[in-house]
């Protein structure tokens, strides 16, 4: 292991381990690991204080490729393990890497509780709408009708919208990006890192083997501009090739509609302005689905509150302040005792 002298500026390479990457050629995970390595270097974090925790699945191999601390655990349980790590040492920067099956199927309960407790970790959900490692079964985010080895006639169950689930679970930071959108992804990762409390980031990730091009309705080159809405706090919700299409509330119904600036008397002021702290707006944005609407990307919701580990630590400090001389021998001798004389 290299010993880095303090103050030395680390590069993406310094965050890259010596392990051979075992993802399929062309997998979206390559782009994500590269973006994460680059972002950590840009953020100037220290390797020794960074921990990547994962469960099971293709995405879960992620920690092996990072030259930080890493813990590849068991299916779905990474949030619980990360909680134990963070409660033990709140100084550590903990990242959880998960997939749609790991996070929303077997581990759905743990993700829910991680988010509602607001444990200060960055939770990256690589959503490829399929089980890759087990060879192509449909996942909880697969669309109805997905044909897979376990659903030869098409899947029947309704998919979960990961960002909506996160918002419903009480997440204080919900963001989205796409594996190959290096710059927006990096920006989202930085915001997630800076946010104290649980940061939920859904990354649409292409599985080239089992579910290729499943996100092409908003990631294909010719469709991206018209079907990606990059939200930014305080900026109007505009998208499209010419940035002239926008979202506004329908005058007569409680729902969003798409309008075009310059048509039918619509001006930019008619378009909704993104407000990261508006939970209701975030819920509406998270629920938008192509092709009827653009896919909302970027920081959809961010309204910080103290992290769980901060509050747990504060209680412990309070208890210590109230009982400065914690002496186990004294505790065991409190209450009714009696002496037997020899």
């Amino acid at each position: 292991m290299n010993v880095v002298t303090p103050g030395e500026k680390l590069t993406a390479k310094d965050f890259t381990s010596d392990q051979e990457v075992r993802w399929c050629p062309g997998c979206g995970d390559y782009a994500i690991v590269s973006a994460v390595q680059g972002t950590l270097a840009e953020l100037g974090v220290s390797r020794e204080k960074t921990v990547f925790v994962s469960g099971i699945g293709c995405a879960a191999r992620f920690p092996y490729y990072m030259a930080t601390y890493g813990f590849h655990t068991i299916h779905g349980r990474a949030p619980a393990i990360a909680t134990g790590i963070k409660l033990t040492n709140p100084e550590l920067d903990v990242w959880v890497v998960s997939g749609d099956g790991d996070a929303l199927s077997i581990g759905g309960n743990h993700l829910f509780h991680l988010l509602r407790r607001n444990v200060d970790v960055q939770f990256l959900l690589f959503n490829n709408e399929i089980y890759g490692l087990t060879k192509g079964q449909y996942s909880p985010t697969s669309r109805v009708g997905t044909r897979s080895p376990s659903t030869p006639m098409g899947s029947l169950d309704n998919p979960v919208v990961a960002a909506s689930f996160a918002l419903g679970s009480g997440a204080r930071f919900v963001a989205r990006s796409v594996d190959t959108l290096r710059k927006p992804l990096s920006q989202v990762l930085k915001r997630a890192y800076e946010h104290r409390g649980a940061s939920f980031v859904e990354i649409f990730q292409n599985c080239i083997v089992y579910n290729d091009a499943v996100f092409s309705s908003f990631t294909a080159k010719d469709l991206a501009a018209d079907n990606q809405l990059h939200v930014e706090d305080g900026k109007p919700l505009l998208f499209g090739r010419e940035s002239n299409r926008g979202l506004r509330m329908k005058p007569d119904a409680f729902e969003l509609e798409i309008v075009t600036v310059g048509e039918n008397g619509i001006v930019e002021a008619d378009v909704l302005v993104h407000d990261e702290k508006n939970h209701l707006l975030a819920s509406m944005l998270a629920a938008l689905q192509p092709p009827a609407f653009p896919m909302a990307l970027g920081v959809i919701y961010c309204d910080p509150a103290p992290g769980y580990e901060t509050n747990v630590t504060a209680q412990i400090e309070e208890a210590k302040a109230n009982s400065p001389a914690a002496d186990l021998n004294a505790l065991m001798r409190q209450g009714h005792t009696w002496t037997v004389k020899g």
Partner: protein
């Protein structure tokens, strides 16, 4: 009402018979304050320097309908001037505060035992609820017992009538009146209870006064009025016990303190991730109150998250602890495999209960030994310890910490519902006086990899996140023996599987020689036990030996690995009997590990072994 000052009773009024030991069982409705009555009697008895053991017997329901048999709560105490190791087989005295309590508990009472009941509540309605067709106080069915019907409710109301309480509040003092009566019967000092009541109800002095009045009235009832001459009174002299400072301790308390003591000696923060389950939750409750001892507690969303959070804590450099009962431990199984694979210290407390499935959640059984020793996928060895009694939990907890940090392994600690909730006097040890080596985290980056091993203990190097230069990855995938990286190499898997097994096996090398609890190292018959059967076996063997029978008691704390000298010891006996509250789980392990043709003595009624059952089993085997 006569006023009685709470002075030391000199016992000179009538001759009290000295008793070596007595078993008293308090029983009543869940709402009758039975557990409180029992614990007060326990404190007072301890102060009288008797040795004692108690057994709280709760109903599974939180608040079953009043007066029903399934709502009966009981508390049994065995106390005496000799060493007391069990809550006693059959009560000498049964205090049954309603017909249901009488119905449920009468069967265990000794012939000619004393029954004290609240005659006021033996109404037609209550008799019906308890399933009686006739009043047992009147139909002669109790003729083989000595029955004292006392109008407890009426006497209580009378005792507190001037204190301005509502009828409901007044009737809540019934248990104190009962307690006063029992104090009179066994010549106990009321002052500790009076002090306790005054402290407990400091903000409501009228309630304290009422309870004290009821306590005194119960005592007076026995002493000055109706009972003089009709009942023998007793005195139980002080027991001959080792000198020192004592307290009563429950298993859950001793376990919690032992874990705190062990973690402190190891120099680690203690982290307990747990999910509520009967009868294990008490440990979480106690540790949650010890935050100022560097204890972090986490009530997780489920059993799996509980163990995983503890594994995360150990990974980050704390001592991870999780606690549960059998069904919850089943859910933790996969995570235990991870902890074995990544070789982190972890303590898993299993307060066993009767199963399968939900089984009898409040009843005691020792049927999770297979689960602890074998219950994981693949070859996944870990250490298993068992506590024998409430106070033993302290020592076992410290030993569990020692093994976990010395060998970098999960350790399962088996207790049970009886051990967790029962209490016994405890010679309070010096918490700093145990041999747990302080943990030295790896900080040297020179030729480091996470599976570098200590040659003697085979423990891997423990490098925690935050240490510069030691960044590494661990996980559930097989690791290379020489680098710690992922390895799918067949020979390497053989080697790693072998070393994991050797690491656990070598725990036995560090154990002291196995010494029988009682009896010779060779002989006609050895009774082998583990866990909470200790008291029953110990007393039975002691009785038999007093009677000249050649029998030895061996009790195991280390269940896996077994002590390496166990086989040699057992081969010194003509017969070996393994007594346990399951269908023969330790028996299987002992037979397979030592090839000694041991036989089982088994019981799964949810109740502890009776001393007499063990005595009879030994005699039968020796006579046949």
């Amino acid at each position: 009402m006569p006023t009685i000052s709470a002075v030391e009773h000199d016992g000179s009024k009538s001759a009290r018979q000295p008793l070596e030991s007595v078993v008293v069982r308090f029983a009543g409705d869940s709402g009758d304050g039975i557990q409180l009555t029992g614990s007060q009697f326990t404190q007072t008895t301890a102060l009288a320097r008797n040795d004692l053991a108690t057994f709280p017997d709760y109903p599974a329901e939180i608040r079953a309908p009043a007066g029903t048999t399934f709502g009966v709560s009981a508390f049994q105490i065995n106390f005496g001037s000799r060493q007391i190791l069990t809550p006693g087989d059959e009560p000498d005295v049964l205090i049954a505060l309603n017909p249901a309590a009488l119905k449920v508990n009468l069967a265990t009472l000794k012939p000619a035992g004393l029954v004290i009941t609240d005659a006021t509540v033996f109404t037609d309605r209550n008799l019906r609820k308890a399933g009686y067709t006739a009043n047992p106080l009147e139909d002669g069915s109790l003729s083989k017992f000595r029955v004292i019907p006392v109008d407890i409710a009426r006497l209580t109301l009378e005792a507190v009538k001037d204190l301005g309480l509502t009828q409901k509040e007044a009737l809540r003092c019934k248990n104190l009146l009962t307690l006063g009566l029992i104090y009179w019967l066994y010549d106990r000092d009321r002052q500790p209870t009076i002090d306790w009541l005054e402290k407990k109800f400091a903000k409501r002095p009228e309630i304290a006064k009422a309870n004290i009045a009821a306590l005194n009235a119960g005592h007076a009832y026995g002493e000055t009025m109706e009972l003089e001459g009709t009942v023998d009174t007793y005195t139980v002299p002080s027991a001959d016990i080792a000198p020192g400072l004592y307290r009563n301790v429950t298993g859950a308390e001793a376990l919690a303190w032992g874990l705190v003591a062990g973690a402190k000696l190891a120099g680690l923060k203690l982290f307990c991730g747990s999910y509520p389950i009967t009868p294990a939750s008490t440990l979480l409750h106690i540790l949650s109150g010890l935050k100022h001892y560097d204890v972090v507690t986490f009530q997780a969303e489920d059993e799996i998250a509980a163990v995983c959070s503890a594994i995360g804590a150990s990974y980050a450099g704390a001592l991870g602890v999780t606690s549960s009962s059998g069904p919850g431990v089943a859910l933790k199984t996969e995570a235990l495999g991870l902890a074995v694979g990544v070789e982190l210290p972890l303590i898993v407390v299993n307060a066993q209960r009767a199963g399968p499935s939900t089984g009898l959640p409040t009843k005691t059984e020792q049927s999770d030994l297979y689960q602890a020793v074998f219950g994981r996928n693949a070859d996944t060895p870990l250490a298993v310890l068992a506590a024998r009694a409430p106070s033993d939990c302290f020592d076992v907890a410290v030993e569990a910490v020692r093994i976990a940090v010395t060998h970098m392994t999960p350790v399962i600690v088996l207790t049970d519902g009886y051990i967790a909730n029962a209490s016994e006097p405890w010679l309070i040890p010096d918490a700093d006086g145990f041999a747990v080596p302080p943990v030295e985290f790896r900080t040297d980056a020179e030729s480091f990899h996470p599976y570098l091993r200590d040659e003697k203990t085979l423990a891997r190097a423990w490098a925690v996140p935050g240490t510069p230069g030691l960044e590494h990855r661990v996980g559930g995938i097989e690791k290379d023996f020489d680098t710690g990286n992922i390895s799918y190499d067949p020979e390497n898997h053989q080697r790693m599987t072998d070393v994991r097994a050797q690491k656990i096996a070598c725990i036995a090398d560090g154990l002291p020689p196995l010494v029988p609890e009682q009896g010779n190292k060779k002989g006609r018959l050895a009774v082998v036990g583990w866990g909470s059967t200790f008291g029953s076996i110990s007393r039975a063997v002691s009785n038999l030996r007093d009677d000249g029978v050649d029998v030895t008691h061996i009790h195991l704390r280390h269940i896996w690995p077994l002590p390496s000298d166990l086989g040699d010891l057992l081969r010194g006996f003509d017969q070996v009997v393994v007594a346990e509250m399951n269908q023969g789980q330790l028996l299987t392990v002992v037979r397979s590990e030592t090839l000694v043709a041991a036989e089982g003595l088994n019981k799964v009624t949810g109740q502890p072994f009776k001393i007499s059952e063990i005595e009879a089993a030994v005699r039968t085997r020796l006579e046949s």
